[in-house]
Symmetry: C2
Subunit: 238 residues, 2 copies
């Protein structure tokens, strides 16, 4: 099965990097500086909570494609409004805070695992993040991608089928030659339906200590591992 795999494409937020930890630290720094009394973990969760609804409007055709950078910025406004913190941050301070998504820490095994997998495969993020965001994040987190595909290429958001198909096409491979890797079962379900191979490992603290979802594979994925290092041990070479 793995013999025909030529490329591996990766979900990024949660699978490769710790968005909750990174966003929380960034919020925490701003809150301290501005003397805002609000739990930064809760704020990060609220911010991320606006993620799916914002993309859903675009997936369903209610809005034309705009990049996730713009959605993140709009979502930040919405959360500041909801939490009564709007008066505390200027537009320019919000722009700066929005860059938190470009400075997320990789999970401990991500860098070395990607490096090993890159010896055998063409590797790329297939994220809902834009090319601009993915390029800056890769530089910050040391992620050695060969290319960047995903939402910007398809001008739509996962799990829309077209995002997986356009990403494979942009890399010059047929879907069956590409493995989608994610710590999220729904991402893999959509990728499998589009004809891609699938690789899963859990990131059990992505959503914090009380995480109840995606702790294990819920589908018959081609490869399941304990973490990315485990996946690299099966598929990568040094």
């Amino acid at each position: 099965m793995t013999a025909e795999i030529k490329a591996m494409i990766f979900d990024v937020f949660g699978t490769v990097v710790d968005w909750r930890g990174g966003v929380t630290v960034a919020c925490s720094q701003v809150f301290q500086r501005k003397q805002i009394d609000f739990d930064p973990f809760a704020f990060a969760d609220l911010w991320r909570g606006e993620y799916q609804p914002a993309m859903e409007r675009i997936r369903t055709g209610g809005r034309g494609y705009v990049s996730l950078d713009i959605l993140h910025r709009e979502n930040l406004d919405r959360v500041l409004e909801k939490t009564g913190l709007s008066a505390h941050l200027t537009a320019s301070e919000r722009d700066t805070l929005n860059h938190a998504w470009e400075r997320l820490p990789p999970w401990p095994d991500s860098g070395a695992s990607l490096k090993a997998l890159r010896q055998r495969f063409l590797i790329a993020p297939c994220s809902n993040g834009s090319i601009a965001l993915m390029a800056r994040l890769a530089k910050f987190a040391g992620l050695p991608w060969d290319a960047i595909v995903g939402a910007d290429i398809a001008r739509d958001y996962k799990p829309q089928r077209q995002v997986y198909l356009a990403s494979c096409a942009a890399l010059g491979f047929d879907p069956h030659e590409v493995m989608m890797v994610a710590a999220h079962n729904d991402d893999l379900e959509a990728a499998a339906a589009a004809g891609l191979k699938t690789g899963f490992f859990p990131r059990p603290s992505e959503y914090g200590p009380g995480q109840t979802t995606d702790l294990s594979a819920s589908g018959n994925w081609d490869i399941c591992a304990q973490d990315m290092a485990g996946l690299a041990a099966v598929l990568g070479s040094d």
Copy 2:
């Protein structure tokens, strides 16, 4: 001037890699194996000679966007026909030969110069080559891009203005924050007209020993250097 530059985008064929040398070697190997008596340098020049006319049909709207991989493959058919060599190569052998464009040698200073420039800037190819082609070429030639932009992003070919603008937008920068680097004056002329900064150095043997064009800057470019190492010495760090 250089203080506001955030990203550098590069022409690739001729500027970063030696397309003529690489394609000639690939043709030479095939011709030897198939006992074809034809000068491989002349064949490479004929193949590249079809490059601009093929893109021009797309630039002028006579044909919808197709990637350079497809144009290269069609151009190969055309040159084999013109040279009377059609009977010698099967479709599959032509497909294989077409991959020569993914295995072009970098000019001697390209790898180290890009690595130095990458310390200070986000770097990406802005080529007429596809994402698939650029990713494979980067892997082969060791080019440490942060992202890949260019024709595939804009679905049009340089020197169309939109290719430069879409490439800057995909990287999340305004044109004046981006420097286009090329060994070709016409590429820089179009980039400057689109509002980008410009960097030039000659590659005096790109077209072979008798080269007469692009031996020096013909415009008032922001930076001119002797080669890419010279550009990196001015702008890069380390």
